[in-house]
């Protein structure tokens, strides 16, 4: 199992993209309601990747980034993350609490909990949509927050994922609000075991 990519066929992958697309639609609606601003999420990209490649997938690997990580439990476990470049995170804070910290040292309990809540709402909306479509229980666990280099944040998430897999189907999308010049990067890495259960629940057979 380790060392080679789990095999998923084109039908399974396009089905996953479609489900993810509906999921991110729900997440975009949730964030729009929370902020009263129009948010757009691009059609998710589903890629088969080696986990170690993930930290370098975001362009600005050393840029100061706010990252919210939520381990996912249930029948389709995995790892879910939201990353915002610092300037976009500041836009979120201004929208939600009226002002933004100028530097990471100024992040207090209020700023941290607001950001955790943003992650919570977006991730839960995404997961609920997926859970309803496949009829499997999937739930997010309490979020964690980091304000760091993008690569360092993703690396830590990859380490958690490495406990079960060495390859993954990563589901990525961009979140943006033009009006506020805010954008973010959403990532979901289901475990390969979870994906198998997901596809089985939809009646999609394993590759011969």
């Amino acid at each position: 199992m380790d060392g080679s990519a789990p095999e998923f066929n084109a039908i399974q992958i396009s089905c996953l993209s479609e489900m993810a697309n509906i999921g991110v639609g729900h997440a975009a609606t949730a964030i729009a309601q929370m902020t009263s601003k129009p948010f757009h999420m691009s059609v998710p990209t589903v890629r088969s990747v080696e986990l170690e490649a993930i930290p370098l997938m975001v362009g600005a690997v050393e840029e100061l980034t706010v990252g919210i990580y939520m381990p996912v439990d249930g029948d389709v476990p995995g790892h879910m993350a939201f990353l915002f470049p610092w300037k976009s995170a500041q836009a979120f804070w201004r929208l939600l609490v009226g002002q933004a910290p100028e530097s990471p040292e100024q992040i207090g309990e209020l700023e941290a909990s607001v950001m955790l809540e943003v992650g919570n709402i977006m991730n839960s909306s995404f997961l609920n949509a997926i859970s309803e479509m496949c009829g499997l229980p999937i739930h997010a666990t309490p979020p964690l927050l980091a304000v760091e280099m993008a690569a360092a944040i993703l690396q830590t998430i990859v380490l958690e994922a490495t406990a079960t897999d060495s390859h993954a189907l990563s589901i990525e999308t961009k979140v943006s609000c033009e009006e506020e010049h805010a954008e973010g990067y959403f990532l979901f890495i289901p475990t390969s075991g979870g994906l198998k259960r997901l596809f089985a629940s939809l009646g999609l057979p394993e590759v011969a």
Binding site: E62, A146, E148, E160, T162
Partner: protein
């Protein structure tokens, strides 16, 4: 002359005759370990992800784990003529970057365990460690200029600073 840059990605091991600039980008809980034999002029770096290989799975990449990555780095350097007794090392990383959230501090403590595991390997192999910058909450980018021997570490909030020099000067 600008040195060739060797990017050492997660779980990778790179070795070379002195000259290139080795880089571990954005080390979170991972550890970057730089090594150098000043006599043979052989340099190397490993980007360790986890303390020890899984008991129930084959090791797909030796550089992934401290207990396989450090010995493998030294062995690959030895193939280029390095001698273990002369090798000098420096390490950085092992942070805990997720510091907000419920139970945050205790939940992902892999960074500390990584640092301990790499140090245990350094001791077991009898390597001399000239510098270390581990722990805390900050992600780090570590560079090793094998031409000058200089090891530098930078974070998102601090300027790049010199950690040590593996050429001893």
């Amino acid at each position: 002359m600008v040195a060739t840059q060797l990017l050492v990605g997660m779980a990778e091991i790179q070795v070379a005759k002195e000259g290139p600039l080795f880089v571990c980008l954005g080390l979170g809980s991972c550890i970057g370990l730089a090594a150098y034999d000043p006599v043979a002029k052989v340099a190397g770096m490993v980007h360790v992800m986890l303390p020890a290989a899984f008991a129930d799975k084959p090791v797909d990449k030796p550089g992934k784990f401290a207990d396989t990555g450090v010995p493998s780095l030294i062995e690959q350097m030895a193939r280029l003529g390095a001698s273990r007794s002369r090798i000098l090392v420096a390490m950085a990383g092992g942070a805990q970057v997720f510091n907000f959230g419920s139970g945050g501090a205790g939940r992902l403590d892999i960074g500390r365990r990584n640092a301990d595991a790499v140090e245990a390997q350094i001791q077991a192999l009898g390597l001399r460690c000239l510098g270390k910058d581990v722990g805390g909450n900050q992600g780090r980018t570590m560079t090793f200029d094998s031409g000058s021997g200089l090891i530098k570490v930078r974070t998102v909030t601090s300027m790049e600073r010199a950690l040590c020099n593996l050429k001893g000067s």
